[in-house]
């Protein structure tokens, strides 16, 4: 049989992914009550985080010259990106059990890349509570900051890129975590420092941290380059000292090498893997 052309293959992947996503959403909708409760709960969790930010603002009045709407804008952008990645990464999260039971081998015999199958395993709607709150804070901030600053076409384009890049970086982090599981079998909790910790770090202006933390989140885990730097540009804040203007625009591009590295880590993990469990 003739090998399908690359383009056909891509559209096949997209078709398959959409099938898996639709199935997953339909199956979760069966448990509506539990689902809605979970969404509400997620909303509450992020809600208290934001309440904390609001209360600290009442106490301290400003954060390194940032106003509450400006902080909410950054906070919303980061949380929307994280929420999307978190909802897509459910399969990566399941690597521990998959390996232990030997079920991962079933993925390997199917004619579809394992990464894609993990991505399609479940689109976790219950984690979307964070998206709603992210959207809410983002819209409130955009309204308070005025449409002229935020909604200019160039700003919107930059923001869309920033969010996309943010999703890719968070997804890559979850993928690295999954790749580690090939070696350790047990899920690695220390990676939470970088996934959830990354989300926590990026929710505040990066300028708040000591140098080594800034370097970590700009150069090594580029969540800061992807979201903080472009947001600074949109809000006309001075970003990190010593970084040129072009770095703020080009920041989101840092997601690409990071994603490539994560895929490489995954690939070597998968090559190393020789079944387990049964």
């Amino acid at each position: 049989m003739k090998e399908p052309e690359a383009r056909n293959q891509l559209s096949h992947y997209i078709f398959m992914y959409r099938r898996m996503a639709a199935l997953s959403i339909r199956s979760q909708w069966r448990y509506r009550k539990s689902l809605l409760l979970s969404i509400a709960a997620q909303f509450l969790i992020i809600g208290v985080e934001f309440l904390g930010l609001f209360l600290l603002f009442q106490r301290f009045n400003n954060f390194q010259g940032w106003t509450l709407p400006q902080m909410a804008f950054l906070y919303g952008t980061v949380n929307i990106a994280f929420a999307i990645a978190d909802a897509l990464a459910y399969g990566f999260d399941q690597m521990g059990p998959l390996l232990k039971t030997g079920n991962f081998d079933r993925l390997l015999v199917r004619p579809l890349p394992a990464v894609l199958q993990l991505l399609g395993m479940e689109i976790t709607i219950r984690r979307s509570g964070r998206i709603f709150l992210g959207l809410a804070t983002f819209s409130w901030a955009a309204w308070r900051l005025g449409a002229a600053t935020v909604l200019a076409p160039a700003s919107l384009l930059l923001l869309a890129l920033a969010m996309l890049a943010g999703v890719l970086v968070f997804l890559s982090l979850f993928l690295v975590q999954a790749a580690f599981t090939f070696v350790t079998i047990e899920g690695l909790e220390f990676m939470n420092a970088f996934t959830y910790g990354g989300q926590q770090t990026a929710s505040y202006p990066l300028s708040a941290y000591r140098k080594f933390m800034q370097v970590l989140f700009v150069a090594f885990i580029p969540i800061g380059s992807c979201i903080y730097l472009p947001v600074c540009l949109v809000l006309q804040k001075s970003g990190l000292p010593g970084l040129p203007d072009w770095a703020h625009v080009a920041g989101p591009l840092a997601a690409l090498p990071f994603m490539a590295a994560a895929l490489l880590a995954w690939r070597s993990g998968q090559r190393w893997y020789s079944s387990s469990g049964g």
Partner: protein, 277 residues
């Protein structure tokens, strides 16, 4: 004849031993807590540097950073969620086996939960203490390190309240788990409890920094007695003279939760259906 407390002691020992098996998980969790502690204290430092007002702040930076480190230290004591073991029992139907045991069911669960909490705290407590109080002061991060207890009396109050606070914490985690008799999926309940308890125990924002209506609310809830109140003894904002009042409040809440929990569980058990088989 066997003493009445023997089965409870055995339950405590059994759960403590089982919890000790998860040392590597605790180790991994510790790294996450170092990291979160660093992030949170750096952000706190930035807040303090941004403050230009003239009114004095309720805590110094050193106190606020210490509050955050103490929170990381006793992280495992805060009942973020129901007891996972108990929740699994309910989901799998194995809870039926507990119900036929000739013991007081709420006490049994309470004791087991307590053992789990004690072990998780003991495993994490010391490394985080060493990192934040002994290592950090010798680095460039000394301004956000954990300060030593304000006084010996303060340390005493901290330790006493923390150990009694763990009773409160175990009672709350059993109660959260018992809500599951009504709703099989634990995810939603756990998340709601985590949100409310983490905020009102002071894990998200140091409670002394909060004033206004939210202060009224947190003072009316039991959650601060396992975290915020003991921390204040360490920081020196409460002294030995406040200890009797704090202990009374703790035990009052404990009594309410235990008695309430006992009746709640009995009512729930009357209509329980064992799922699975």
């Amino acid at each position: 004849m066997k003493k009445f407390w023997q089965p409870y002691l055995a339950a405590f020992r059994g759960r403590a031993k089982a919890s000790l098996q998860y040392r590597s998980a605790a180790l991994a969790g510790m790294f996450t807590q170092f990291f979160f502690g660093l992030i949170l204290t750096m952000v706190m430092e930035a807040w303090y540097q941004s403050y230009t007002g003239s009114a004095p702040l309720p805590l110094s930076l050193h106190q606020a950073a210490s509050y955050i480190w103490l929170g990381q230290m006793v992280f495992a004591l805060i009942p973020w969620r129901g007891d996972p073991e108990l929740q699994n029992l309910v989901r799998s139907g194995e809870v039926g086996r507990d119900l036929v045991r000739p013991v007081h069911i709420f006490s049994l669960w309470f004791i087991r939960s307590l053992a789990w909490r004690y072990v998780s705290v003991v495993l994490r407590f010391l490394p985080i203490l060493i990192f934040s109080a002994l290592i950090l002061p010798h680095t460039a991060l000394r301004s956000i390190a954990l300060m030593p207890p304000a006084s010996t009396a303060g340390l005493f109050g901290f330790l006493v309240l923390l150990s009694t606070g763990s009773l409160l914490s175990a009672a709350i985690s059993v109660l959260i788990s018992c809500f599951q008799f009504r709703q099989i999926s634990a995810v939603g309940m756990n998340a709601i409890a985590a949100a409310i308890i983490s905020f009102f125990s002071g894990q998200i924002v140091p409670l002394p920094l909060i004033s206004g209506p939210v202060e009224l609310i947190y003072r009316l809830l039991p959650f601060r007695y396992m975290a915020d109140v003991p921390y204040r003894f360490w920081l020196g904002s409460l002294t030995l003279a406040d200890l009797p009042a704090a202990l009374t409040a703790q035990f009052l809440w404990l009594a309410i939760l235990l008695v309430g929990g006992h009746f709640y569980v009995n009512i729930q058990l009357r209509q329980v259906t064992i799922a699975g088989g």
